[in-house]
């Protein structure tokens, strides 16, 4: 399908582009040109989240417009999947693996220590905005359990005692300035 279903396409596109980015808009247009564009909703949401860090209402709306999917459905899909975040996150995302292998090797106590150190619980961001704590089902590195991933860096065989030093490393980075 193309632009024919609405004749105010340029307007819609401009509004959507303001909420998204040019490459994402182009990606959506590519999807629209291929077979079953609506099926690309999840991959579009992935692209949006990887750029903005989360899916805000304006972004969801823009995606709905461009893919021509009802906004309610887009919101429904975004909230169904755990991977999608509807709120912004802190500078670093701490992802504690809560899979079975990590659980039996003491991941809960590692998580507890992180909560104690930062004064936050699951889904929350520390007051200084540096860390957001999240849990994950399994990072696929069970052989190195327990595993904590901070942004894209995996920390293997973590003990509760190592937590302060690990956090300090990222705090230091945060002090050095904003992300590139």
């Amino acid at each position: 399908m193309t632009t024919t279903s609405t004749n105010n396409w340029e307007e819609v596109r401009a509004a959507a582009q303001a909420a998204l980015t040019e490459p994402i808009v182009r990606y959506i247009e590519q999807c629209n040109a291929g077979p079953e564009p609506a099926s690309q909703l999840i991959s579009v949401l992935h692209k949006v989240q990887s750029h903005f860090g989360y899916l805000g209402p304006e972004q969801l709306d823009a995606v709905a417009q461009l893919l021509q999917i009802p906004a309610a459905k887009v919101a429904g899909v975004a909230s169904f999947y755990h991977f999608f975040r509807l709120q912004p996150h802190g500078r670093f995302r701490i992802n504690v693996c809560l899979g079975t292998a990590c659980y039996v090797k003491g991941a809960e106590r590692v998580a507890q220590r992180i909560m104690d150190e930062l004064g936050i619980t699951w889904g929350e961001t520390s007051k200084d905005g540096v860390f957001t704590l999240e849990g994950s089902r399994c990072l696929g590195t069970c052989g190195l359990a327990p595993v904590v991933m901070i942004d894209d860096e995996i920390h293997a065989s973590v003990t509760p005692d190592q937590v302060p030093a690990i956090l300090e490393k990222y705090l230091e980075r945060a002090r050095q300035g904003p992300a590139a």
Partner: protein, 746 residues
Amino acid sequence: MSVEKNDDPDDSSPAATPSTSSRIASKFAEVQAKADSVLKERTEGGEIFIQVGSATCEHAAGSLAVWDEFQKHIAASERTDIRMRQTGCTGRCSREPIVGVSVPGQMPVTYERVDRALVHEIFTSHVLRGVPLLDQVLDGPVEKLPPYELLVCSSTRCGGKGRKLIEGPLAEKLHAAGLGPDRVQVTQTTCLGACSLEEVGQCTHVLVRPDKVLYRVTSDKDLDDIIQRHLLGGKIVERLCITQESASRQFFEIYGDVAFFNRQNRIALRHNGVIDPESIEEYFHYRGFQALTNVLSQRNPQAVIDEVSRAKLRGRGGGGFPTGKKWAMGAAAEDKIRYLICNADEGDPGAFMDRSMLESDPFNVIEGMIIAGYALSAARGFFYVRAEYPLAIQRIENAIRRCREYGILGDDVLGSGFSFDLEIRLGAGAFVCGEETALIHSIEGERGQPRVRPPYPTESGLWDKPTVINNVETFANVPAIILFGGDWFSRIGTEQSGGTKVFALAGKVTHTGLVEVPLGSTLHEVVEEIGGGAPKGKRIKAIQTGGPAGGCIPAASLDLRIDYDTLLKAGSIMGSGGMIVLDEDDCMVDIAKYFMKFSEDESCGKCTPCREGTKRMSEILERITAGQGTLDDLEKLNRLGNLIKKASLCGLGRAAPNPVLSTLEHFHDEYLAHVTERRCPARRCTALIRYEIDPEKCVGCTLCAKNCPVPCIDGVRREPHVIDQTRCVKCGRCFEVCRFGAVNRL
């Protein structure tokens, strides 16, 4: 049944027509030659090869820094004969990063837990001076690397001839020739995969490392020749040589000395740790796409299905449905538009074999998919990959692109007239999306909720078209089945299920990692012999298989033969291959609670028994572990569990009670201790334990008091400390930090 064919002018009969076959053959030869020349250019002048593992687990262990460090050393040495290669992961998680060094004429050496400092030592000693670091070899240290190692295939499938040979004539003859273990090491291996080349039981296969020579031994005279001419004379005995590549030969040429590996059968994982997962040229070099070429030239989709049926290949995603049968159903569908899906959602928390296969040998999985696509006359295939696996996604993307460049994917695959292409679709962190109908909804861009079956996807699946869904490992076995035959594959394994299964061994086990063994192997072989048992002298209590849909098998049943049906009988399931070892410190009620919470969180909420039932069961388990359970609660768990199993709509709900029901059955005493004595025998459930300081042992170092988060430990330096039980939150930190063993967990 009717055989679907592509509309090709040559295609008037299912039999091969010379023109198409020769076109495919020449096209294949052409791309092979192209790959060869690329490879040659890349390795030209290389003598010494350093290989570094590259996969999520390897990276987590630090392999990227190791790679860079070697690069720097090579640059600084100004040597031009040293080449680096990346490989995927071998599946030795606990020993990564893994580095291999091969120097011509010497035994290849695999190093474990390599870091920057060790890189320097390996480089200066082994790479530059040819002196391996014997202390650092994988599963070492070893005292000496003998000039030769004989790997003798001792599979019981081949009549156990190998072992007799090792103990009898081989030992005698080596002794007579004066070749002790310092000159020739003899190693018994489980299966070299050479049985893929001929009738079993006719001979014994012997692989000579480091010369990469595979011999076929049938008589004493053969042994004499090998000893006199090869081991003493340094000349290959051509008469006994097997030149064809067998299923796992290349793997054992590199890793055959390591017991963890040589007790395994490597088929689905045969290229893991051997080839560069980003290089289609290397894949070609290891007979890649030969199976596809054979299939395309034969021009008989039904024959492919028959071969897979003959192999007795059953789905590795958990259900164990016969793959040949599933393909036949897809091929018989009325609708000519058909889809193929690879289920790479790997939702079982604690399983990572699919990730490893996709990261370490993606071309193999893709080849399996193209063959399946051909068998089904499907034109489009999908990879449904979980978003938590970014490296796997990257490697599949690369592999798809490379395949298109070589004409392996896209229009007119290898000039056969058959067109097939693949797309990647990402999951987004919902366990239920591993279920096939939910997965289909997810690919369609919907919420991933299951629907009632029938109709099964083979009838009405993606966009209501006939769709075949298979697991990653299922596809990974297909090229080997085509190359070496369904009969061979079916002989490995049991009466009902052919081949091997890859297990992701984790938890309280010495060697965590990937273990591929024939179906029908015992749990003992996997966990004790290969996995090395529980670390720190602890006792294994149970093995959890099948993840949230499975159960716990007590240690007393370790001699159970692993198969779909036996595990089911034991109250668990095969599942996708996650195997978590639990030891005496793990509380079975707590484990059951863990899985129940998981299922409660992951229930999609569509049907009441699952949505509400898992919540109720979680609450009861919470109560029990908090020391507030009653005998009646155990009865309720049983009743509810059986109800949810019967009344739920999809496999998630239907299997969710399994971890509880199986532990209730096998570990009833532990439940009883919680509810009648208010005691947690494993001392895991915090509400039921307390920490006390033994005044006899406490030296008053104050460390515990400093670490207590509350703080609730009193005492002065050099005096015994005391815990205020009313305030203690039982975090266990005092227990961990005390160096004098003075804190007791009661």
